[in-house]
Symmetry: C2
Subunit: 593 residues, 2 copies
């Protein structure tokens, strides 16, 4: 046990945790803090921490699992959906800095191979789209966010494929035509074989596993670990690198193949094990290999690489983005958003260093490039998005859209009719009469049990953005919302909660990130009656100034006889009135009286 | 990455998985299969697999997490509850084989220290109580199961404390009084310090974490990993072994300290990571160090150690168990159940080998001892329990008992009154009038929301064995049952499901392992009315022969006007009538008409 050096492992983990937490607190991805604290505490500066064989082993296993997790997170459908615009941005943002990086190294008398390595590292884009910055800048529903997401996915996949080619090339050592085609042939064989297994064998395995009743999550997890390592070994046999196999395995381990519940749980374990434990060891120890001497010996190269990375990425993205017709300003904005380099870049640089392809100096430069480009993202992206916003050029877009409403009661039909002016709306109800009534009134309604996955599938729940549970029974509403949340990941959930002390509490909404319909507990029965008897008035109220829905209810709801149903914005778009929303001065509230 | 040797890791994992699965299939703990396949494929026989630095690192991290997980699984309350009988069994089952093991080695001219190591290994008891065997032999609710559980816990804790002492002693090297007291002092300091942190600091940390909203499971997991490694390092600083620290950390990380949900999820990740991935590497590679030559060179010692282990454990347990007054036959049965050696023994033996305290020969003997004693358990325990059963001496006992019933409606009160003749029963209802009514009728009832943890705490849910959800609303019943299952681990759950196509389906019961009340969907309202109006007859029906509750309903339920409520056994004990039960020929069904 002496070799494990628990103290060393402990210190590295604590350092990673502190560094990551601080970085997150100021709005950067944890990897930035992990790299910086590695540089600070490692041999480069304070020399408190050092690497060891044990740490290397754990770090290597960590990046295998991290790549598998990154693969699991990528949904083929998302990649397929990635628009023409996303593809343009990805290619431009990859190719231009790639070329700049390559020729910079060649110009500095670097080898061909090391230039290719640097080129990939400079071309990569970090999946910063998932970071807090998009939320902070309120970009989540904009076209920019979707292009960024698609761009990062495509650029990472591109980078990994080119990386595969280079690794095969390095290992073969030969540069003649026969040798090269042998290398390429093996790589193609690997990808074809992996795809065959992933597409044909995994679904069979998934079915077998779902039939075997006695097996549990741990069993599934063990099988996934074996699959990930198996693919890694296959990749190595094909002369590629293990991380490519792990990534491919992750791509094919997805929720269509294994049950949604199992997939979600196992992905969670991979996430915790890699991001919460093993991968940070890799990033902190990556900092250990950084030499600060490059600031003296190779300052010009350092500056040129960083400049090439930043300018190449931003200008390249904007240039290639022009044919999309979305304008050069949006192109620049997307370029600034894609400018960060993250896990994949550091992993590739680390492998280059380990294989002796790049020197410690080049490795150090690549780490500083990752740090400085990541640092630019919040600043530059804030500038560019504010610029777009001021010009009114921030285009909203959403891959998921439309409403799924449980409960085809009069209130449900009323709301559906209003929302379907600008959105796709589907109602579900287990009562056939209500469903027929809704269809007669021109609202799409599906007959089925709202607590069963089948019904949600029929209603195409996986593409819906908002779920409204509007039956008179709070508990049915809650159970259905759990299903919408856990199995269909519907982002917005609005739940009608009925009053009554025997009922479920509002506290049950929080873990699902759901909001309460009408902004307060409401007994639907009288309103449903009034609507079906046509004994109500629909009124529209101007709002005095920005306020939250809660404040609006406080101000206007003394009179118990009104029900705020929808909020309408300037352009006439309506959205449901719920607890966690705010109303701007230019919007109106539609309420029933 | 070359050092990681993915292929080697992959093969070891596949071997562990196959070995573990085969062992499980034939009713043995996976560790048995892992050891055997390690011996088979390792240098001892086929020589296909070999160990490496990387495997050692992963295995060492694996046993740290495994010990932490074992600690997490031990509940202080369980240890506290461990009866006088359990303590007797644990001490007898530890001390007698300990002495036999010690003197066997001394007799064979072994060193004092190696004799002590072997003695501990022989004394340890594996936590086989969790294995399938208890279920297969239908022992889960017997006094034997509880004594076995307590015995294994106490004996493992005892073994680890003595192990701590020996490790300190080995490291110090000195044998004079000052040196020894220094060693003992450091160990005591460690335990005191660990206990102080665990008892005073952890709850504060838990509260801090529960207040910070933005942190997630991964954050908690990282903190727990840091705590486990921190305690390990503390233990090493005190001259003890890291696994003791990990075990202590696990003991103090428990669900009173961190929220139940977080504790459950993090424990799950520790479980999957250790048992599903890292720890099997340790057990397979343990098999690599086994030498088969001991069958020639040290056959007598091998036989004596195994004999001493088996006879010492069984006879020692039975002897020390006599003062409990439960008879020598039950003592022998418990001895056979405690005869297995498992993870802790192999870990201790492995550490002994690594530290050079025991030779490869002794290590091999200890592994074969673990294998052969584990093999005896199913066979011997089946014999002894059948023997007890035939003599009618198999005593039932349950640490959790009594009923928690949600719904103080007339039917709930009626059932509570019947059940409380032999059991503790608590009713919960959110309606104060119903609660008062129940209390007036002599039934303990608590006023509170049945969907909130507080109410369950008030009703002491954690010690209840059966939860009955009996409100007229199936969805409330389901949500409350989820709470009973997820947060209070109540083993038996019976749920009243109302008919109606809008309602929740019976399929929702399966994941919670719950059963449907009255064996079919039932509308409670008419029965509640009949009971409160006293317009019903209570009838008792003899059963023709063994049948399931479903069959009984088919045979007797054509007449829709009866409601089977309870089953009464020979001795007049009543239990609720539900879907997943069977009625034996000597029992009676109580039904309403």
């Amino acid at each position: 046990m002496a070799e494990l050096q628990i103290l060393n492992l402990l210190l590295v983990l604590v350092a990673a945790w502190v560094g990551g937490m601080l970085a997150k607190r100021v709005g950067f991805p944890p990897i930035l803090g992990e790299l910086l604290i590695g540089i600070l505490l490692g041999p480069a500066l304070l020399g408190v921490l050092e690497t060891s064989e044990a740490l290397n082993t754990l770090a290597e296993v960590g990046i295998l699992f991290l790549m598998a997790y990154i693969g699991m997170e990528i949904n083929f459908k998302d990649l397929g959906k990635a628009s023409w615009a996303g593809l343009l941005a990805a290619i431009g943002g990859f190719v231009v800095p790639f070329i700049l990086g390559y020729y910079t190294i060649i110009w500095f008398d670097g080898t061909n191979i090391s230039a290719l390595f640097v080129a990939i590292a400079v071309g990569v884009t970090s999946l910063a789209t998932k970071s807090r910055i998009l939320v902070d800048l309120k970009l989540l529903d904009t076209r920019i966010a979707y292009v960024l997401m698609a761009g990062a996915l495509i650029s990472d996949t591109l980078a990994l494929i080119i990386f595969a080619g280079i690794i095969g090339f390095v290992d073969s050592g030969s540069v003649n035509a026969v040798g090269l085609s042998w290398v390429a042939g093996k790589a193609i064989l690997f990808f074809a074989f992996a795809a065959l297994i992933g597409i044909y064998f995994f679904p069979v395995l998934g079915k077998l596993l779902s039939k075997a009743k006695s097996i549990n999550r741990t069993f599934h997890f063990t099988i996934m670990v074996i699959i990930v390592l198996g693919f890694s070994e296959l990749a190595e046999l094909a002369g590629l690198h293990g991380i490519l196999g792990a990534f491919m395995a992750g791509l094919f381990i997805r929720d269509g193949v294994f049950s949604r519940q199992v997939f979600k749980e196992v992905t969670g374990v991979f996430h915790d094990m890699s991001i919460g434990f093993l991968a940070p060891i890799f990033f902190v120890t990556a900092g250990f290999h950084v030499s600060l001497e490059v600031f003296q010996t190779d300052l010009l190269l350092l500056i040129l690489i960083i400049l090439g990375a930043v300018v190449g990425k931003i200008v390249g993205t904007a240039l290639f983005y022009l044919p999309s017709g979305h304008g050069w300003r949006e192109g620049l904005t997307i370029g600034t958003g894609m400018n960060g380099r993250g896990a994949v870049e550091i992993i590739i640089a680390g492998i280059g260093l380990q294989m002796g392809i790049i020197s410690t100096e080049i490795f150090s430069i690549l780490v500083f490039m990752a740090i400085s480009t990541t640092l630019t993202v919040p600043l530059l992206l804030t500038w560019t998005t504010n610029w777009l916003r001021k010009r009114g050029e921030l285009v909203m877009q959403d891959a998921r859209n439309g409403y799924l409403i449980l409960g085809a009661n009069p209130l449900g039909i009323y709301i559906a009719k209003q929302l379907q002016e600008h959105n796709e709306v589907v109602l579900i109800d287990a009562n056939k009469d209500l469903v027929n009534e809704a269809n007669e009134q021109g609202v799409t309604a599906i007959h089925g049990n709202g607590l069963k996955e089948e019904t949600f599938h029929l209603a195409n729940a996986i593409n819906k953005k908002t779920f409204i549970a509007l039956t008179g029974n709070s508990e049915i509403n809650l159970l259905a919302t759990q299903l919408a949340n856990n199995s269909f990941y519907i982002p917005n959930k609005i739940v009608l909660m009925s009053p009554g002390e025997n009922g479920a509490g509002l506290n049950l909404l929080d873990p699902m990130n759901a909001s309460s319909m009408f902004a307060s507990k409401t007994d639907m029965t009288p309103w449903a009656y009034k609507i079906s008897a046509n004994e109500f008035k629909e009124k529209i109220a101007q709002v005095d100034g920005n306020c939250t829905t809660r404040e609006w209810v406080k101000q206007n709801g003394k009179n118990q006889d009104i029900l705020p149903v929808l909020i309408m914005d300037e352009s006439g778009h309506k959205r449901p009135f719920h607890y966690q929303d705010s109303i701007s001065a230019k919007e109106k509230v539609i309420y029933l009286e």
